[in-house]
């Protein structure tokens, strides 16, 4: 446990002494702000039209504003996650510091979990920053906080799974760019896999659609924790970290 924390802190330091973390945080805050502003503008417009029509319909802040934003944030994560994970192992391999970690009395699993945890924490801090926008909703409106919390948990779980995949890909190369590009490709593929369900209902299509990370987020965006989706994200995380561990081991046998 202690060793995981040491590695995690070292990685977080690495993010925050370089411009990487600040750039990502700023980008995320800016784009989230834009999403929020758009969703709010549509909401206000729809509200005015509903008033003018003479038969006002009840409108739900959670449904109309927060849910679409959460879905958009998932897409934003697609671009940010490769940037977060690409250096994790590729950089250590390039500079040779992997030799220091591998010859220190800590296990591979501690190194891997520590690094992954740092990546999750960086992503978490971005989500935290985005929550500032939602404060306004509480000030001027009356949204339900529980679905929001569940949505954030869903985003974190989804990112955790993709970050684990990115961590694994980072062990495969000593080139950060390759690691980043490959992670982006894999994330994108995991994203669009559910398109097949649009035209095909054979078992293989169901399997592909199930593997898509986006379909599993729908329930969270609605504010519902579905154990099926929870299990999907958690198991994908474990799978990614497991492959990372195997990759580290094979590195030793081959290098």
């Amino acid at each position: 446990m202690r060793n995981i924390w040491i590695i995690c802190r070292k990685e977080l330091r690495g993010y925050f002494v370089s411009p990487v973390a600040y750039l990502l945080l700023a980008m995320f805050a800016f784009i989230f702000g834009f999403f929020f502003w758009n969703a709010l503008a549509y909401f206000v417009l729809a509200g005015m039209e509903s008033q003018l029509s003479g038969q006002p319909m009840p409108m739900n802040v959670n449904e109309e504003i927060i849910r679409p934003i959460f879905s958009n944030i998932g897409v934003l994560g697609l671009f940010i996650i490769p940037v977060i994970t690409m250096r994790l192992f590729a950089e250590e391999k390039r500079t040779g510091t992997i030799e220091l970690l591998a010859t220190s009395p800590i296990t591979d699993v501690e190194v891997i979990v520590g690094k992954w945890l740092a990546a999750v924490m960086l992503y978490g801090s971005m989500l935290l920053l985005s929550a500032i926008n939602l404060m306004f909703l509480f000030h001027y409106g009356d949204p339900d906080w529980k679905p929001i919390a569940i949505g954030y948990i869903g985003l974190l779980l989804q990112a955790g799974a993709l970050l684990a995949v990115g961590t694994f890909i980072s062990t495969l190369t000593r080139n950060q760019i390759i690691a980043g590009a490959a992670t982006f490709g894999v994330c994108l593929l995991l994203w669009v896999l559910d398109w097949v369900s649009g035209y095909e209902s054979a078992p293989w299509a169901k399997v592909l659609a199930y593997m898509s990370v986006i379909t599993h987020f729908d329930s969270f965006a609605k504010g519902v924790v579905d154990s099926k989706d929870l299990i999907f994200y958690v198991s994908l995380t474990f799978l990614g970290l497991f492959f990372t561990a195997r990759s580290m081991e094979s590195l030793r046998w081959r290098s």
């Binding site: 330091r13 220091l100 970690l101 591998a102 010859t103 220190s104 009395p105 800590i106």
Partner: protein
């Protein structure tokens, strides 16, 4: 302290280390000598648990590298060929991080950092970013990192590579001063380094152990016989080196005399004798009694260079493909 038996590392297409066995006693400095690609780095990586051996065993500081790698890692300090530094950390932050992953904490950690900073002479740069340090300082921080947890065994992979002569001397002195507390294995392909630093030499070539011996023994072994350099000076003016040669050849026990250097009034001769025959006293007497000055009398020990070339020379030129495989070696 280190016992290696039939250690072998095989890759898909070549054998980097082939059944190497040796032992290192506590407190010794051992030089690991071999041309590039001989398997030095691979062997060191196996001793430090970075690479698992294909077969054979290595027991370091009392623990097997395959059975109990964590225990071995706790007792081994390792400086790879390029110091494993994080460029975005300062020296102090770096040493603190390494200390922590080696299991130190609190007051002991702070005390060890102060100690290694003093010992490795990096106080001037301890708050500078590692990425901005010169090669010499990087090497010293690398050494500081290796000894931070006070390991029983120190494994140093080419610790002086890429340093300037002054830095090389400083690093060698530092390593020598560490020998009392630690058992040290250092690899190098620079021969004088071994002569100056090490007590014991392990020579490997193409993954195979060529010889293991003390530096002194190896130097003696180079010549079956003892060989002495004599500098003779003339009393007044000229000196007939041919006469000197004739006179020295008559000394009992001398097997061969060669004139090495000839000047106006002094000459240097190399005198060889059969093994175990003391000739120095007779030589000195012969020179003085003949009326010449004896300026210098010292043993001409063969340099390790000759021994090394001798031992690692190929008996028969290998055909192309074999050469290529061996040349790729293990070090990368």
């Amino acid at each position: 302290m280190i016992t290696v038996k039939n250690l072998t590392k095989r890759y898909a297409r070549n054998t980097a280390v082939d059944h190497i066995s040796f032992e290192v006693q506590k407190g010794q400095i051992v030089g690991f000598l071999g041309p590039n690609g001989a398997g030095k780095t691979t062997t060191m990586r196996m001793l430090t648990c970075f690479l698992p051996p294909t077969s054979g065993s290595a027991i370091v500081a009392g623990f097997d590298v395959l059975e109990q790698p964590l225990e071995v890692k706790r007792r081994v300090g390792y400086l790879p060929e390029t110091p494993p530094l994080y460029p975005e950390m300062t020296a102090t932050e770096y040493l603190s991080f390494v200390g922590k992953i080696k299991g130190l904490s609190g007051a002991i950690l702070r005390q060890r950092i102060d100690y290694v900073v003093g010992r490795c002479n990096i106080a001037d740069v301890k708050d500078k970013l590692l990425g901005k340090l010169s090669k010499g300082y990087r090497q010293r921080v690398g050494l500081a990192q290796a000894i931070i947890h006070n390991p029983d065994v120190l494994v140093l992979d080419e610790p002086t590579a890429g340093l300037d002569p002054k830095q090389i001397n400083e690093t060698r002195d530092l390593i020598k001063s560490l020998a009392g507390d630690h058992t040290i294995i250092l690899s190098t392909h620079i021969l004088p380094e071994v002569e100056q630093t090490c007590e014991q030499v392990i020579i490997i070539n193409k993954g195979k152990l060529v010889t293991i011996d003390s530096v002194v023994n190896l130097q003696n072994r180079a010549r079956g016989a003892e060989s002495v350099l004599v500098e003779v000076g003339g009393r007044n003016g000229d000196l007939d080196s041919a006469a000197v040669l004739r006179r020295l050849s008559q000394v009992p026990g001398v097997s061969r005399v060669v004139v090495k250097e000839k000047r106006q009034n002094r000459s240097v001769l190399e005198v060889e004798s059969g093994k175990g025959t003391p000739i120095r006293g007779d030589l000195a007497r012969a020179v003085v009694e003949a009326g010449w000055d004896l300026n210098e009398l010292r043993s001409a020990a063969a340099s390790l260079e000759e021994i090394f070339l001798d031992l690692t020379r190929e008996e028969t030129p290998a055909p192309g493909p074999v050469e290529e495989v061996a040349g790729k070696g293990a070090t990368k």
